[in-house]
Symmetry: C2
Subunit: 235 residues, 2 copies
């Protein structure tokens, strides 16, 4: 089966977490909205599944299945393709980690859009300054410290074992986005949470992801979830 991934073009965003799993697992897929007139097609396609409507992209069409919510898509891919342990404890653990990663992704987004997604950054810049200060000083250490302690206890991968899971790929995606958005702050935190940064390096070096990272299938950062505003960053 060839999967159809639908996500906004022009930003890695939450679609990137699905792409990383599809690419690292070597699964065939089409990135549908990135085809010609793709975003128009996506808006039409979203209305074409009245029984399983997505609330928002990303969503994955897998034969008769229409699956939305990033963590839900990854739960499905994990089960279908062995990208997470298959015992109950391991499967729930990886889903739990993915949901915690998703929470931090949302908070990273809200640093530049603390008032409304529908408004420009410039129209909420003062609020963004306050929220970003709190994110850098309170939330980044709390989240990254949490993942660091897990890796310190379990070894190379978040679920232990000898192979990455989709949560490891997603932690890579999260750290990668934070490195783009908050380079000064991340340089400080790299010294405090070395296991998290080592995992980022380990995933970046995976043989399975070399072709992807050099390809134009990978979307560049821009005005998406992870944005770099110099005024929102600090050591």
């Amino acid at each position: 089966m060839v999967y159809d991934l639908w996500y906004w073009t022009g930003i890695p965003g939450r679609g990137e977490f699905v792409r990383l799993a599809l690419e690292a697992a070597g699964l065939p897929y089409r990135d549908r909205a990135r085809e010609k007139n793709g975003e128009d097609a996506m808006l039409r396609d979203m209305r074409a599944h009245p029984q399983f409507p997505p609330f928002a992209p990303p969503y994955l069409v897998a034969g008769d299945l229409v699956i939305a919510q990033t963590a839900n898509i990854l739960l499905y891919l994990g089960e279908q393709h062995g990208l997470a342990p298959d015992d109950v404890a391991g499967r729930l653990w990886v889903n739990q980690l993915q949901l915690t990663i998703a929470d931090m992704v949302t908070e990273a987004h809200d640093t530049h859009h603390p008032v409304a997604s529908g408004l420009y950054y410039e129209d909420q810049q003062e609020e963004a300054q306050r929220r970003a200060d709190d994110f850098r000083n309170a939330r980044m250490p709390k989240f990254l410290g949490y993942f660091d302690a897990i890796l310190a206890a379990r070894g190379e991968w978040l679920a232990g074992g000898k192979r990455w899971t989709y949560a490891d790929l997603s932690l890579f995606g999260l750290v990668d986005g934070l490195l783009y958005a908050f380079p000064k702050r991340m340089a400080t935190l790299a010294r405090q949470y070395p296991h998290v940064f080592a995992l980022h390096e380990r995933i970046a070096a995976l043989a399975e992801l070399q072709d992807y990272q050099r390809s134009d299938r990978r979307v560049a950062y821009g005005d998406g979830i992870f944005r770099h505003y110099r005024e929102l960053d600090a050591a």
Copy 2:
């Protein structure tokens, strides 16, 4: 097995979504942090699971399993006790709905804490005013309209069929919290999204939940995720 639920005392919060599932399914559980010295015990207990540490409450201890993240707990309870369809499509659909409900819960919280969870409301009241305006005018119609269309298409319950799933219980919990926090706005939206409000009535009337709703096992609203500030509400 008797489940151990751990969650902050004094607010319904995210623990309430787990409680509703445990209560409606008639599953024996202890609400551990609500016992004597319970919050101190919870902070100790959270450090006592180095292999599966929760990032934050709520979490459920089920024999050897330690399960955190509300949607993950409900996924587990749904599978163990038939609180969601057991085919792949239905199971993923209910998880997807739960994650969308969780997104709206987070946004409801952020109306009164748009800058930082660690600060008082009074220290972010101006920002809260702007964020609550957007939540009421843009986000509430978008989310409630989404759930309303699903119920209009599928009938009494979000996954169709003749019985509630845990996502129906959670949509009840969400609507109930919004009715407490934004009574004026919800009075307007009740006319536009009648299916969502009918589901709230239907769950409130479930025989399985009558004893719970009258008991002190149900926590009253207060300074939690769903808060009522008159200045943040409007028709």
